[in-house]
Symmetry: C2
Subunit: 220 residues, 2 copies
Amino acid sequence: MKKIPEPTIDRLSIYLRCLSTLEKEGVETISSQELAARFNLHSAQIRKDLAQFGEFGVRGTGYHVKRLRSCIERILGLDVPRNIGVIGAGNLGRAIADYEGFLETNFTVAALFDNDPAKIGLKTKLGVQIYDVTDLKQVIKDKSLDIIVLALPATVAQQVLDQVVEAGIKAVLSFAPTQLNVPEDVKLKVVDLTVSLDTLSQSLVAHRLEENLLVTDLDP
Amino acid sequence: MKKIPEPTIDRLSIYLRCLSTLEKEGVETISSQELAARFNLHSAQIRKDLAQFGEFGVRGTGYHVKRLRSCIERILGLDVPRNIGVIGAGNLGRAIADYEGFLETNFTVAALFDNDPAKIGLKTKLGVQIYDVTDLKQVIKDKSLDIIVLALPATVAQQVLDQVVEAGIKAVLSFAPTQLNVPEDVKLKVVDLTVSLDTLSQSLVAHRLEENLLVTDLDP
């Protein structure tokens, strides 16, 4: 089992959510075509993605929903619980700590950190405790945190990230709108809201152009 | 100008942030190698991405920072202002409304929506007004909203999305952890926190395996 390309992981992750939904509905088997139609996916892509990891489908029957779900979970390392620490107890940090999408996963937000004395010691709506960020190293150890999420202003992100790396964390998700540096053995994933919106902005440009082209095409 | 593949748009968007940083620092020209080294990017990828849109580099000098920035902005449709409406004034919605990453862009969060009477009429820290979601159609028109961001529970996301589509919106960013359906002419981008964490989880598996493999390799 080697490192899987990120776009493939993202798709496996989406298949996983779909399979969980189907399992809850009592669906036992599903073909790649049905899976694609039901969740707006591409059936050829599904078959290609899954074929990399072995033979999952049965000719004429399709995939066994429950079995496939647990295989993907193992591939993604989601069969073991992961404890998450979130640094920054502002709106974003608290939104992540109480994110409903984690409820049915093995991800648990086990600690929230801040440097504001007025916030330290409080709990979020769902009961996640806010710790002093100066106790970071100790809490990472005590709570067995695997993944750190940065929900911080860009100006302090690198400085806090350095402390996180020094504490031995190997996986970081950052929401700070800035480029960050980590050593080679640390995986950093940056979610930049502006980048997501740029895609939408470009689609609006393409949209306008298509409409114009359509008008031109119809012109005699 | 056609629709550009999403991974390319994401990278162009990252180059844009980097070029803005360089411009602020007074850097006038930069080679693809320097750009790559400075921001942890790949120089061959930069050259390939940019070559699709014309000749930007000058042999021996590299890219003209300011000129390249404004070209990428045009390609992404970021040279015109975009008004964003955020639906859901919980922690996440308020975090997005006040997101510092928008400050230096043409994106403006012009309205926040909720159905909670206790929230309607209030403003966020940065002054974004919270409107009644039942006035969605009117506010989209009055505020010329181009893009809608869904910061809602999964259970109500599709229902609200249908209203958004009916109001004529062509670009939607969703944070709801669920699969959603839109007509073909509407661009939907889903940011699923769990998917981002899955990548990190898989990297932890790969990490552990690499360490084990290393040990095996060293074994006589």
